[in-house]
């Protein structure tokens, strides 16, 4: 029983991290916090890919004499890409946050929508100046 639990421990933690990240994304109104949540959510996916690649008693996939059991390299590559994508998204998101902060003076979604800034109606709003 405990054995079965341990064998799937990685997956359980992965799932926990995902749920937590997603929770932050949906529940929090602070834009930076949201982005952190997204980052958590994404990085939890890394484990989902990497855990199966591990072979107990194996070594990293760098070929050398004396080793014959190597971890599966493919997931590593995929996750390398995923990490890069993640940080790229984060950077863009943060840039948006900075601009929003300059345009609205806040990074709390609640406040932005509270200040009559519902995206629905088309009340005339000052344009975003290039030099903000």
């Amino acid at each position: 029983m405990i054995e079965a639990f341990l064998t799937n421990y990685n997956y359980f933690i992965t799932i926990f991290l995902m749920s937590a990240g997603l929770y932050i994304v949906v529940a929090r109104g602070n834009m930076v916090k949201k982005l952190v949540g997204v980052a958590l959510f994404q990085s939890s996916v890394y484990l989902l890919y990497l855990s199966p690649a591990k072979i107990l008693g194996g070594t990293p996939p760098i070929l050398a004499e004396g080793f014959d059991v190597y971890a599966n390299p493919l997931p590593h590559v995929l996750i390398l890409t995923a990490i890069v994508v993640g940080v790229a998204t984060l950077a863009l998101g943060l840039a948006l946050v900075v601009r929003i902060n300059e345009a609205y003076g806040t990074i709390e979604e609640d406040e932005i929508f509270a200040e009559g800034e519902d995206l629905q109606n088309d009340a005339k709003t000052p344009r975003v100046e290039g030099e903000l």
Partner: protein, 508 residues
């Protein structure tokens, strides 16, 4: 090495699949290096105009010689990344690249108006990257590669939207970024589970190995993750929240381009998974997904159209109508029959035509009046006659008046509904298109039957030719393919066949 050797060794036709994606990427790099808006525009134009030729040749090759498989880096498929072109994605490639080609000439003026001087070149870079990403998603035969290009197009999209003239564009872009990233990540989770279960990422390979997987539960979970993830990108009904703001506040050019391509590509990928990859194990995907999809599509068709009727901002109105139209497409897909899928695919291209035209018109109005609020449109029917005429015609086709592409789509969907023994759906389809009458009618009435106000009097006049001609082309397409739908319909049928035949094609 000598040019003779080059000619000997370099076979263009063979390399087309790669070029389809590499050229836009190269173009984006060049536009980013020359920092002059005008030159960048020219580069983008050249690339965008070369794309349709590539796509059409590919489509022709496929229709004549069958599926093309292109091994990236020369590594045979399961090992390397494969570009697999069949009628289905060649069809979508043609749509996307054609729209890109039509949009480009239009872009010059609106970008000059919307985007700050020193950002224009970069804006075209973003556009080209977005194009590259979309084409990459469509053409690839590898689940993870699709994700990478999905991200390219998404990031470029966020940046483009954020360039909108209104500060709300920033918030819209941010919200889209969050939802889009979550969607993409969910997709990756799904792919990950699939990969763990089958050990491969190649579509064709997946099809084969999914047969051998005896424990189906994770596979189902994977499908549901992929569905939800992509639905976020498709803006399928309850997950459409990001779309109206994004379209309403993005720069006109971005709106035109995205409205007629982005969601389509996501739909293609979804269909690819449902029909091609899970298709053979249809007892999996067909179990209740069809029903769910029908319900969601109907909700989209009605609720979104209904909401559209109450919008004051015309671009928001059209955006909501886009959500509704996506409902039509998914409805066609949900029948699970060839006729339905064909209907969905036909509407894919038809909707691209009409929404493209409509948003081009609103873009022109935005250019002249700096606003697309309904009340500001009073009486422009006589101040911008050609623009509003185009708008009216495209609107008619959105309503689905016979003789327009909209009718062709509805006809297919209706026939598919009858063949699926669900005649009642026909009434639903027609009823929701009557809602389109309401919201298009509102605009027409204001534009033609109200007296123009002083702003309109002063500024409203038809946009330059460079914008009217592309609009005209799309409008003409709306009617030509409504009177003679042979081309679109037959191609769409072949595409539908291809979706179903993927399993068979996977072997060879």
């Amino acid at each position: 090495m000598s040019t003779a050797a080059l000619d000997a060794s370099f076979n263009l036709i063979q390399q087309l699949p790669a070029l389809q994606v590499v050229l836009p990427m190269l173009g984006s790099v060049i536009t980013a290096m020359v920092r002059k808006g005008a030159i960048a525009w020219f580069v983008a134009l050249a690339v965008s105009w070369s794309m349709p030729f590539v796509a059409v040749v590919l489509l022709h090759e496929v229709l004549v010689h069958g599926t093309i498989s292109y091994a990236m880096g020369g590594w045979e498929p399961p090992l390397g990344i494969e570009y697999r072109v069949d009628a289905a994605n060649a069809y979508v490639l043609v749509i996307v690249s054609l729209i890109g080609a039509v949009v480009m000439p239009y872009a010059k003026r609106v970008v000059d108006a919307d985007i700050a001087q020193e950002n224009q070149a970069w804006f075209y870079t973003m556009y080209l990257l977005c194009l590259c990403g979309l084409l990459g998603i469509v053409i690839t035969g590898d689940a993870f590669n699709a994700f990478v290009f999905l991200e390219i197009s998404s990031l470029a999209t966020y940046a483009m939207i954020a360039m909108g003239r209104d500060r709300r564009a920033l918030v819209a872009a941010y919200q889209y970024l969050i939802m889009g990233t979550v969607g993409a990540t969910l997709y990756v989770i799904g792919v990950g589970i699939l990969y763990v279960m089958t050990g491969t990422l190649n579509f064709a390979d997946l099809v084969d190995r999914l047969q051998t997987v005896e424990n189906q539960r994770p596979v189902l979970a994977a499908l549901s993750f992929i569905t939800v993830g992509l639905s976020l990108k498709v803006a399928l009904f309850p997950l459409h929240k990001w779309l109206p703001n994004a379209y309403a506040y993005a720069p006109s050019m971005a709106t035109v381009f995205l409205a007629s391509t982005a969601t389509k590509v996501a739909i293609y990928l979804l269909v690819r998974f449902y029909y091609s990859i899970y298709g053979p194990n249809i007892e999996l995907s067909g179990y209740s997904a069809g029903l769910v999809l029908v319900v969601l599509s109907l909700l989209a068709m009605f609720i979104s159209s209904f909401v559209a009727c109450f919008q004051q901002n015309v671009e928001r109105m059209l955006a909501y109508s886009s959500v509704a139209q996506i409902g039509y497409i998914t409805l066609g897909i949900s029948f699970g029959s060839k006729l339905g899928l064909t209907g969905g695919l036909v509407h894919l291209v038809n909707h691209a035509f009409m929404k493209g035209a409509l948003f081009m018109c609103t873009g022109a109005i935005m250019l002249r009046l700096g606003s697309v609020k309904l009340d500001d449109l009073a009486g422009i029917g006589r101040r911008m006659p050609i623009t509003m005429a185009a708008f009216t015609l495209a609107g008619l086709s959105l309503i689905g008046v016979p003789g327009t592409v909209g009718f062709v789509s509805k006809w297919y969907l209706a026939r598919a509904a009858f063949d699926a023994g669900q005649g009642w759906l026909v009434f639903a389809i027609m009823a929701s298109s009557l809602l389109a009458v309401v919201y298009i009618g509102r605009i027409i009435e204001v534009a033609y039957l109200r007296e123009p106000n002083n702003i309109t009097d002063e500024f409203a006049k038809d946009p330059p030719l460079s914008m009217m001609i592309p609009t005209g082309i799309l409008v003409i397409a709306c009617f030509y393919f409504g009177i003679n739908a042979e081309l679109t319909a037959v191609t769409a049928e072949r595409a539908a066949d291809a979706f179903f035949a993927y399993f068979g094609a996977a072997g060879q």
